[in-house]
Amino acid sequence: MSDDVAIVGIGMHPFGRHEGVSGMEQGAAAIRTACADANVKWADLEFAFGGSVAAGNPDSMVSQMGLTGLQFINVVNGCATGGSALISAYNTIKSGAFDLGLAIGFDKHERGAFRVNTGKSGERDWYGGSGMALTTQFFGMKINRYMEEYGITQDALARVSAKAFRNGSMNENAWRRQALSEKEVLQSAMLSYPLTQYMFCSPGEGGVALILARADKAHKYTKNPIFLKSAVVRSRRYGSFEVLAPSLALDYADGPTVDASQKAFEAAGVGPKDIDVAQLQDTESGAEIMHMAENGFCEHGEQEAMLANGDTEITGRLPVNTDGGCLANGEPVGASGLRQVYENVLQLRGDAGKRQVPNDPKVAYTHVYGAPGISGVTILST
């Protein structure tokens, strides 16, 4: 068991908009909470992996946390930045290099859709200049085609959003805590057909810190360690349909989510039926629907009936995005994947309060997906 890895402390700075508070300060606040949770001091940490896309170099935070000389490595990996920091920390402990360390992710983005500059130096940016290069368009196109192929309706999209805001209303760290009806979701502005405003998450702010330790030393820090059974990141293969692609191949291949999911299940020695709670990337409500199938939790097309039955509600047979997901929390890219893990740790500890999944969940699943065609999955267990 000595090569197993445990999460022994968690901390989060609330997601949302925080005028006058830098992304890095939000990260530092999350670290202080996580250290207190694990009963360790910053000086005890032997290493850190830090992820941020738009809020500065994470390693420079040592000047406010303390100049202890620890190994601090920055990670930038698109939408899987936070997840990649966690995987790096996981592998570092598994390798035997260190026994106790940190994965930290934080971010702070400008308002509105992500601005993607695709111009090469000395050339006019034809892609963004022509009105493409918007991640929102990809999600609109992908779900529009998926709905046509598998008979998913706009009502199903609205159900996902209404669930997210309902769950978010029970989460004191969420950005959007106002429950919205399916009708309100459907009647909001059409941003990228068939997706309306309240079907999309927004770039936002926040920070999450996780303290990891060798499993056989975990009880030194906490009475209820949560074990990281697998952590996998995969990039895209030829033929997959990805965000920000000026052209696609004629051949069609599964996306990186399918690869990451299969590998994570294999490494953890469990299957989709063993999962008691799942946090799936919901950049928009259609993404949650597609990711239910891509991660192996159902067949393509079954989501329509599952959502109508309430199967993915907190009280359903497979609760999905119990903290409100990206839809209610927003997406600070560096922190987003770690937020999912934070929520699963709360659920497995039985500490999720009003949104606690009943019947003592034992195995939990996280999944991030994003630009430029990257996916990260973790499986946690008690």
């Binding site: 859709a113 022509s130 990228s192 057909y193």
Partner: protein
């Protein structure tokens, strides 16, 4: 004032209309747009630049309902003047699926599988006042 290609490395303006410049792999015949120097399918670097086809079928689509941020967008960004526009992937037979603006922005007038052809579309002006032309696909 003249009409200029938005970027001559990706599109030529010819007397017959715009032509997209893509990569063809001489080893496996895979195509990529825009031109690049290696093939992502077979990893060969024996590639050439070709003009892509101008007719195809709609494979996936959406409608851009809000003004994109400028920069990088060169078109209308004033919310009171902005007109939604279509965006989709058009499958060019034997080559690839290319992402493009569509000349149609009405969801009831767009359907996967419909026949489309390449046209030029004014998107903005350069520093000297010339019209910048980008590409779009229009229903046949």
């Amino acid at each position: 004032m003249a009409e200029l290609s938005i970027n001559e490395n990706v599109m030529d303006l010819t007397p017959e209309g715009p032509r997209l410049k893509g990569m063809r792999c001489k080893n496996c015949n895979n195509h990529v747009f825009p031109m690049q120097k290696g093939c992502p399918k077979c990893t060969s670097d024996d590639v050439e630049e070709v003009h892509l086809g101008t007719k195809g079928t709609l494979w996936a689509w959406t409608i851009q309902g809000f003004p994109p941020k400028a920069p990088p967008y060169l078109g209308e960004t004033d919310p009171s003047k902005f007109e939604p526009y279509g965006v989709g992937y058009v499958e060019l037979p034997g080559e690839l699926k290319v992402e493009s603006r569509l000349t149609v922005a009405d969801p009831t007038a767009l359907k996967s599988g419909m026949e489309m052809e390449l046209v030029g579309e004014k998107i903005g002006k350069d520093e000297e006042g010339n019209d910048l032309i980008t590409f779009a696909f229009a229903p046949v």
